[in-house]
């Protein structure tokens, strides 16, 4: 244990990773075909929106805020694509993808402006945005619209041997990986942990915050596409399902709500763990009400364990 604990301290996502691995093994026991090549693309495709919504929640948390509107943003993007862009003939990927990503990032940026410039509390700003997005989704797609054949199906299926989900998750991951190599992520983490310190040291925390929410919006946009890939219709009622899921994934993955600690890897493993848990409970035929119960219980246990046994205690005035 003495050798294991420091690992957990070093990598905040280690707990979620462990949990995901355990759940993966259990899933394989309950349903041996779980990872069979035939099922894998479908499985990954339903996993992708989870992961991406988790990604989308992460940058704002790292920046010391919170964004509870990423789930509704993903559904809004889904409605936008299916109910507006496709009928308007803007559905081809080279038109739709840029439009969608710009819109999503723009909405994220708007959140950022509300938080950083208007200086609303992040919960207030993003709750307001949540209401707006749900209203807009219902306005443009009151009723579910089935999507004609379109390019997002690739994200649910695959290109050759590559499952399509790798594409959507991969793009988001790459963006983050590229940013990690710049000073941006350091600036972001410092801002999240102590905006006073970052500001006093010359970091432009306003821009950092706006960019963090923008990045979250961008990831939520990708999540919206991944969602469209599996539902192939506009589903405005999905907002409720995803509203707080991303948050749960991010926090389970070791990202601290106090800001400044965590990363996308945590959200990835957190989302995978939640997904695998649902999968496990489903496969073992548990009553639906108990799926929810178990989801809640694991979330609590995970967060409590992750935050106490395993997180480092910063020692003030260490000897």
């Amino acid at each position: 244990m003495n050798r294991v604990l420091p690992l957990f301290h070093r990598w905040p996502f280690a707990f979620a990773l462990l949990l995901a691995l355990v759940l993966l093994v259990l899933n394989l026991i309950v349903s041996p075909s779980f990872l069979s090549p035939a099922r894998l693309p479908g499985t990954l495709a339903t996993l992708a929106p989870f992961v991406l919504v988790g990604f989308a929640s992460t940058p704002s948390i790292l920046a010391g805020g919170i964004d509870i509107s990423v789930g509704p943003l993903a559904t809004f993007i889904n409605c936008l694509f299916v109910a507006v862009l496709l009928p308007a003939g803007l559905g081809s990927w080279h038109l739709a993808a840029p439009i969608i990503l710009v819109v999503a990032a723009g909405i994220g940026a708007l959140n950022g402006v509300l938080v950083a410039v208007v200086r609303l509390h992040p919960v207030v700003a993003t709750t307001g945005m949540l209401f707006l997005l749900v209203g807009l989704s219902l306005t443009i797609a009151q009723n579910p619209v089935a999507a004609p054949d379109n390019w997002t199906e690739v994200l649910a299926g695959g290109i050759g041997f590559v499952p399509g989900a790798f594409l959507s998750i991969g793009v988001a991951g790459l963006i983050w990986f590229a940013l990690r190599r710049t000073a941006f992520v350091s600036n972001l983490l410092a801002t999240g942990e102590s905006d006073i310190s970052a500001y006093g040291s010359g970091v432009n925390i306003k821009v950092i915050r706006i960019l963090a929410y923008t990045l979250g919006g961008l990831f939520a946009g990708i999540a919206g596409l991944a969602l469209t890939a599996i539902v192939q219709s506009s589903q405005s009622s999905l907002a409720a399902t995803y509203a707080l899921l991303g948050l749960a994934a991010a926090v389970l993955g070791g990202t601290s709500l106090a800001g400044g600690r965590g990363g996308l890897l945590g959200a990835l493993f957190g989302a995978v763990a939640i997904y695998l848990l649902q999968q496990l409970l489903t496969a073992s035929g548990v009553a639906p009400s108990l799926i929810q119960f178990a989801y809640g219980a694991v979330l609590v246990v995970g967060v409590v364990l992750g935050a106490t046994l395993l997180a480092p205690r910063l020692k003030r005035n260490a000897t």
Partner: protein, 339 residues
């Protein structure tokens, strides 16, 4: 302790002008909210003179009361600097107790209420205690517990959503109900008394001060010998119990329940707290504000309904209102002023 009186204080460096005082006061008192309430009410009365009848007013007040009751615990948690995402779970449980236990199994209403308070309060207490003890953020813990309560309640209900709460409970929230012979239902009085009680507690008791202090600066509160663990436990317990009771009232008012009965109250309850102008972990948070916030939202949605706006449009209006109203008076301080 007596101390020598040294020379009188040097001329106060900060002699606030009357104007600055006035501004500070208007921020302390929810003046803007009162103004908004008056404006909305005036608008309603002018555009729809027919609304000025006792029954319509009672109806608006009852709906406000339900929202305010559901947001009461949330107010406390927000003052403590957190969010209680378990509220839908508590409300669902309370509704289940009202309909299936008090209604179908004919358990006396008082007993059902008591069970609700004990169960939801107990779970809340556990959340508060755990979050305090292990220093974890309540946000995700309450989210998880909320899901767990929902799951457990649905498991208990086993698909039975057809019972109605007993008449004893229904008369508490019924528009036709009377209170001591007066023509309004008891829930209005109950929420009003809660408002008065909360005001006294928050502003006029030592416990209220300690509670605020814990929300504002947890470490300093401990060092000021406040039992922060008790504060957290009690606040989350109160949040649970109040939301549970709100659930029984909501089910009694609507004469029934369903799986998603609590969900609308999470976000609109939070909206009531925010529009009221309570600020996370600050002295500027009170239940009076939440009452005003609930009234604003109810008036607003009444206007929306009466103008034939759709659900979609009403959501958009809510979003815009939260953003504008809070940016008018609830802005955070600039970093440069937090140095």
């Amino acid at each position: 302790m007596t101390l020598p009186r040294t020379q009188s204080p040097k001329a106060p460096a900060a002699r606030a002008t009357a104007w600055a005082r006035f501004r500070a006061r208007t921020i302390e008192v929810p003046a803007l909210q009162i103004l908004v309430v008056v404006a909305l009410a005036a608008w309603l009365v002018i555009t729809m003179p027919a609304i000025a009848n006792p029954r319509s007013i009672t109806s608006i007040l009852v709906i406000t009361s339900l929202l305010a009751l559901a947001a009461m615990g949330q107010t406390l948690v927000v003052i403590l600097g957190g969010l209680d995402l378990a509220a839908p779970g508590y409300i669902l449980f309370g509704a289940f107790m009202a309909a299936n236990v008090a209604g179908k199994l004919a358990v006396p209403s008082v007993v059902a209420l008591l069970i609700t308070v004990v169960v939801c309060g107990g779970i809340g207490a556990l959340i508060g205690w755990i979050c305090h003890r292990l220093t974890v953020q309540p946000l995700v813990v309450t989210l998880g517990i909320g899901a767990a309560i929902t799951g457990a309640t649905l498991f208990l209900a086993d698909g039975d959503y057809s019972s109605a709460p007993p008449d004893a409970l229904r008369s508490l929230a019924s528009l036709r109900g009377t209170t001591f012979g007066l023509p309004f239902p008891p829930i209005i009085l109950i929420v009003f008394l809660c408002g008065v009680g909360m005001w006294l507690f928050l502003n006029r008791t030592a416990a209220g001060r300690r509670f605020y202090a814990t929300g504002i600066n947890f470490r300093a509160a401990r060092l000021a010998r406040i039992r922060t663990s008790a504060v957290w436990t009690i606040v989350f317990a109160a949040s649970g119990a109040l939301a549970g009771v709100a659930g029984t009232f909501i089910a009694s008012f609507g004469s029934g329940w369903s799986q998603t009965i609590g969900e609308p109250y999470l976000f609109s309850g939070l909206a009531a707290v925010l529009v009221g102008g309570s600020i996370f972990g600050s002295i500027r948070g009170s239940y009076t504000r939440t009452l005003l916030g609930a009234l604003i939202l109810t008036l607003l949605s009444t206007i929306i309904v009466s103008n034939g706006l759709t659900e979609a449009q009403s959501r958009i209006v809510f979003g815009v209102i939260i953003l504008t109203v809070v940016s008018l008076y609830g802005r955070e301080r600039h970093v440069r002023n937090r140095f």
